[in-house]
Amino acid sequence: MIRLTIDGQSVEVPPGTTILKAAQKLGIDIPTLCYMDGLPCQTSCLVCLVKVRERNGRERFVPSCGTPVAPDMEVESETADVAAMRRTSLELLLSDHVGDCLAPCQFACPVHMNIPDMLRHIQSRQFDEAIVTIKEDIALPAVLGRVCPKPCEKGCRRGSADGAVAVCDLKRIVADWDLAREDFYVPTCEAASGRRVAVVGAGPTGLSAAYYLRRRGHAVTLFDRQVQPGGRLRDPNSSGNPAILPPEVLNREITAVLAVGIEFRGGARLEPPNVRGGVAVDSLRGEFDAVLVCIGEQNQRTWEALGLPSGPRGVAVERGTFRTVIPGVFAAGNAIRGRGLVVRGCADGKEAAFAIDRFLKEGEAKPWPEPFSVRIGKLAAEELDELHSLSLDAPREELRASVDSCDLDTAEVNAASVQAGRCLHCDCRALPGCRLRRYAERYGADPNRYKGERAVLRLQYKESHVLYEPGKCIVCGLCVAVTEAARLPLGLTFVGRGFDVRVGVPFQRSLEEALGKLAEQCVAVCPTGALSFRDGKTPASLPILRSG
């Protein structure tokens, strides 16, 4: 047995064990992209670097996946030096990574809803899946489907070709379909946290915040001066035009929101301390663990009278965390912005819920984490054509707004499927399983640090059910190793050398012919989205191929 230390912890392993395996024994998680149990060690990605000090005092960085342990070796894994090296490897890989993790529409959408995922579900007519995706980020989709000015569609890459995908209408159709069901979608909430939150103001911000706080396991009481929740959505002078947003739709949607288990107290107006019949911030602080103020626009004097710090546009809060200077008191939506879009209110509600959740669970409010994404930016016409070639070639059509009913007919479902099929799927098909993205996020890698000339976006083997995107390939060698180990007649190989090396099929045969029955396995080992199923399906994990 060989004894060594990793991050100061001593461990004993048999000779020939790699540092990676020794670290795993200690529960130290070393990131790897090119390592996979059961396949030969590739030592190509260099994300698993560790610093070792050997007996002779020499210090160096080595890839832990392929370096055997030595007696009395001292290994550093979780130090700043090592993290910096891993970050550099990741940043270099990202500098040559042609793809968007998240689609541009997702960035354009103020609530950052996973639009491409929703569209894939709609295209395959899985509305039940689509509503789950929608409600991850939007508490009021039927409402937004009617009142939103659709910033997402302005971000759509297809917009510059033959019109953006009708994202907003499609979302509305799914939401309407859901609300028409007897058993509309009610998500399961996390286990009760034992903490109580007061949300004051039941407009779009308050409803959203209450919904997501409840989903995170907190007990929520929603207060409003009106008897019915809805706030400005019921105000004909604001967003409550019944011709656009029928009260029937609004009522059903609010019912679905409250169904997660939110207590609503109507007729409770926020008042300065000691005003009878109202609720005061101070007293709420006494009764609840956190208070979120999301009542509408007020003037400065009113805010001060209510005992809240005010700024130029409303209640003064810290950007991102929504917290005021009063401990445990938060404000969001029009309370801090004056007048904002309904979708902005929904986004604020969700983000404030996240910040309050952190405050309740970790003692400190944290801002909603900006999702990590590599972004290509502008695409050339040929590149757009490349994406276009995989989507439905149908013109954009407006989908009928079912103003007075939530019912849908088959024709509408079919039309929705076609419209959703127009999506170019700019987002990455491997998003959930991408280890490059996971570690880039963990090490705070900046995709733009070493930005060079961008390679052209290409999709290869489009006729196959497996796609190869050379721009996303990090040349780790795992897929090549899978086909090599299986001694496939054709298989995959590296083509070229150096910076331009990529994976290819010999003699220009098809990927289907090259991979045979190993397609699923090759997609499964790919640490990025370079090899993916054309339909975005996630490969089943294979027993011998666990990530290292």
Partner: protein, 831 residues
């Protein structure tokens, strides 16, 4: 005009990522492929040899042939495709009738290889993005280094090498080549007299560089003359003399009397030199001879020619060049016929190996080498004895000794010269190594760019087998089986694990060590990989005793080191000096110092893995540790001298472009890291640098160096780090839009001053018509058309063309003799 200069051809475009395309289905005759398979075998290890043979038959790799190989052998389609696309030697498209290889070595780079490339492309009218002229006559391809550094810049057209080129001479060499290939008579081999009966020996250096300077024609003429005149002399081809700055060299060594050395001999001088030594025996011939001499004397031509070329080894420059040297690895350089086995045996050849195999135990061989202090000459300086000891201790019935002849550093050609000139010496070194470690097999790995070296080593092995020294049909003296593997154009194969992959017929990708090759190398067996020079030193050490070797050098670095001295120095060449000699002594005494009117700035030591040592540190001794302390490394021994006309940022970029292009592409830090470093350097050289670029560059360099898995990546940042350390102010000047040396094309401008006399020479010679023809008026350069080829500056007789950078004048055309500045001004019609 920018980074794309010279890169349009293979530098980083289409050709680097060969798409294995299917050729039009016109059927080709595949019967030669069967022959090739019969000759080279059908196993995976034969992959590279098979591909090379197919390429030499078809001039590229037709896909039908590759598919056929797959169907007939055990080589998988994946391996064949992977290998064919890894090595730059392989071509996937049909080529022109003739191949022009443009050397991109360091010496060629600093002497304007890019301009030669531009001139070729322009002259042959090669369309952008392509490499073959529209008529399909010539295909132009850059190569890493042809190893003729002292003749820079150099191109090779098929087998002919042309040196010391200028953009202006490009059309001439093409015409010359076509003329020669059309008369194409290959001379017969003349043998007239036995060496024993000869009264004199005429030695002609026939190394690759000498041949490039025309020594082959000199040799042929001398042979013809001896035959015609029945002269009792032997014309002998000898290996490299090392004095590359004087080539072609002819040495006449009479049995009695003083040897005479003639330098820079032109074919038209040969007769004169010959006649001054050998008088015809036949009375009629003698009469004719005297008549000719008398006529010549009247004209006075021939005598003068002879005097002009004769140099004496006692002449001060020759003394200086040879005096500091101590020759072990290149002992007898310029005296012996590389392939004459008898001569090698006469000079104690195979004595050391015989003693080692008969009288010494492997253990004592290793001990002797250990006492000599020999360290690997390939660059890293690992103690040879330690390597041998580990391999000797490894238990295996099969072990290998490999001679690493994949000398790929631009600016280094000592291994080529040793293999070409002393093949028997290296074979003997390998026999000794084989005894020490118990090896059963010995493999030469030689890069394909060295055809002469491959040819001579193969021939030397054949002759040894014939003589029963090596294992042949009749059994040999030594139980070691020799073979030769050729590289296929991948610098990284100089790295030992990549070399092993290549010998096994795979892509030359290094792997992580341990396990080290001495434990698990070729085919998983213990393998010692030694550099050519290391092996060439071994027989001498065992013949003359370890003490004599260890007496040379410094405490840490024993013996001698061979260097290829090139660049901006008076006398370039191949030299062997004792360790401990200072860079100053090499550059000033042996090399003769700076070119006239120039000041030395730095010397680039160790090629792309090494660094630039500034002139202020020229007292650094040649010693592994001392050189490493400067940030450079000993490396394989390239010394490229740089002067004030060289831009250090450009030099750093040049080396990085080389390593980046040669990266195998396996590990992230090297594959992407070197590319991003190059992006930054490109930016800086093009005047688009950002304020934080130097910090980013430095940090990235350190990361690439610390994290890459093989020597190529670990050392690739050295040229950048050393120039940043010693010449940071040049980087900063570039950030401000100025190239102090006037080298970076995007930062310099050509301008014609009022001194212009309107002679139109510049306008006539400008290859891109950037100077309108305006007789008797001041000319002007159109900056946006100008390619900075420097032709106008060379053409201007009036000192009126200047190069500016950042508003500062860098260089100015010379005023032609007989045309003083004042006269020029007076002659100008503008005054």
């Amino acid at each position: 005009m920018n980074s794309a200069r010279g890169q349009s051809l293979g530098g980083g475009t289409a050709e680097t990522t060969p798409v294995i395309t299917s050729q039009p289905t016109h059927s080709i005759d595949l019967s030669p492929v069967d022959e090739i398979l019969d000759r080279h075998g059908r196993g995976p290890e034969a992959t590279i040899a098979i591909l090379q043979a197919i390429q030499s038959r078809f001039h590229y790799l037709p896909q039908e042939a590759l598919e056929y190989v797959c169907s007939k052998t055990g080589i998988s389609a994946a391996q064949l495709t992977g290998v064919a696309s890894f090595y730059t030697q392989f071509r996937h498209r049909p080529v022109g009738e003739h191949m022009i290889h443009v050397c991109r070595g360091t010496a060629c780079h600093v002497k304007g290889a890019d301009l030669i490339m531009d001139a070729l492309v322009r002259h042959l009218r090669i369309p952008p993005g392509q490499d073959t002229d529209p008529e399909g006559r010539f295909t132009v391809q850059p190569v890493a280094c042809l190893g003729c550094c002292t003749l820079a810049p150099v191109v090779q057209i098929d087998q002919a090498t042309y040196g010391r080129l200028t953009p202006h001479s490009v059309p001439r060499i093409l015409t010359d080549f076509l003329d020669r290939s059309s008369n194409g008579a290959v001379p017969r081999n003349w043998h007239f007299i036995s060496p024993q009966a000869a009264e004199a020996e005429i030695r002609v250096g026939l190394g690759s560089c000498c041949q490039a300077q025309g020594s082959r024609r000199v040799y042929e003429q001398l042979q013809e003359l001896t035959v015609r005149n029945r002269t009792p002399a032997v014309v002998k081809r000898v290996g490299c003399v090392g004095m590359c700055h004087q080539t072609p060299l002819v040495e006449i060594v009479p049995r009695r009397g003083t040897p005479r050395l003639y330098a820079k001999v032109r074919p038209e001088d040969v007769a004169g030199i010959f006649d001054s030594h050998f008088r015809p025996r036949n009375p009629i011939r003698r009469l004719r001879y005297h008549l000719a001499r008398w006529l010549d004397a009247l004209v006075g031509a021939s005598e003068e020619a002879v005097d002009r070329h004769r140099i004496d080894v006692r002449d001060p420059p020759v003394c200086a060049f040879l005096g500091r040297q101590y020759r072990i690895a290149i002992e007898h350089g310029g005296e012996t016929d590389p392939l004459d086995l008898d001569e090698y045996l006469r000079r104690d050849g195979f004595h050391a190996s015989r003693r080692v195999w008969r009288d010494l135990s492997p253990q004592s061989v290793i001990e002797e080498i250990e006492r000599s202090g020999l360290r690997g000459r390939g660059g890293a300086g690992f103690p040879t004895a330690r390597k041998w000891r580990i391999a000797a201790a490894a238990a295996s019935d099969i072990k290998y000794v490999i001679c690493n002849g994949d000398e790929g550093d631009p600016g280094a050609f000592m291994d080529r010269m040793i293999l070409e000139s002393f093949p028997y010496r290296v074979i003997e070194g390998m026999l000794i190594a084989a005894r020490a470690v118990g090896a059963t097999h010995a493999v030469f790995y030689i890069r394909a760019e060295y055809p002469l070296a491959v040819e001579r080593v193969r021939e030397a092995l054949r002759r040894c087998q014939e003589r029963g020294i090596l294992d042949g049909k009749s059994g040999g003296e030594y139980p070691v089986t020799f073979s030769v593997s050729e590289g296929a154009g991948a610098f990284v194969c100089g790295e030992e694990t990549a070399l092993l992959a290549s010998v096994e017929g795979r892509r030359g990708m290094p792997r992580l060590r341990p396990p080290y090759p001495v434990e698990s190398g070729l085919n998983g067996r213990p393998t010692v990989v030694n550099n050519v020079e290391t092996l060439a030193l071994v027989p001498w050490i065992l013949r003359h005793g370890t003490e004599r070797f260890a007496a040379l050098g410094t405490p840490g670095s024993k013996g001698t080191k061979v260097f290829a001295l090139a660049g901006k120095v008076q006398r370039g060449g191949l030299i062997e000096v004792p360790m401990g000699v200072t860079l100053h002594e090499i550059i000033e005494e042996i090399g003769g110092g700076a070119l006239p009117g120039r000041t030395l700035k730095a010397v680039q030591v160790g090629g792309p893995s090494g660094g630039c040592v500034p002139a202020s540190l020229f007292d650094t001794p040649v010693d592994y540790e001392a050189l490493t302390a400067t940030g450079a490394i000993m490396g394989s021994g390239g010394l490229v001298v740089l002067d004030d006309s060289d831009c250090m940022v450009d030099i750093a970029r040049y080396f990085l472009r080389f390593t980046q292009d040669q990266s195998c592409g396996k590990c992230t830090l090297c594959r992407v890291g070197t590319r991003r470093m190059l992006d930054i350097l490109d930016r800086i050289c093009e005047g688009r640098g950002r304020p934080d670029d130097l910090t980013t560059l430095e940090n990235l360099s350190r990361a690439v160096s610390a994290g890459s898995i093989c020597g190529l990546g670990k050392t690739a940042p050295n040229p950048v780090l050393t120039t940043l350390r010693y010449f940071r102010e040049e980087y900063e000047a570039h950030l401000q839009g100025r190239c102090p040396a006037g080298k970076c094309v995007a930062l310099i401008h050509y301008r014609i001053t009022d001194d212009c006399i309107g002679c139109t020479l510049c306008a006539q010679q400008c290859p891109v018509h950037a100077i309108p023809l305006t007789p008797y008026r001041k000319h002007e350069v159109h900056d946006e058309l100008c390619t900075r080829c420097d032709t106008c500056l060379a053409a201007c007789p009036a000192g009126a063309v200047i190069v500016e950078s950042g508003g500062v004048e860098i260089r100015r055309a010379k005023v032609a003799r007989g045309l003083g500045a004042g006269e020029a001004a007076a002659a100008s019609p503008l005054r």
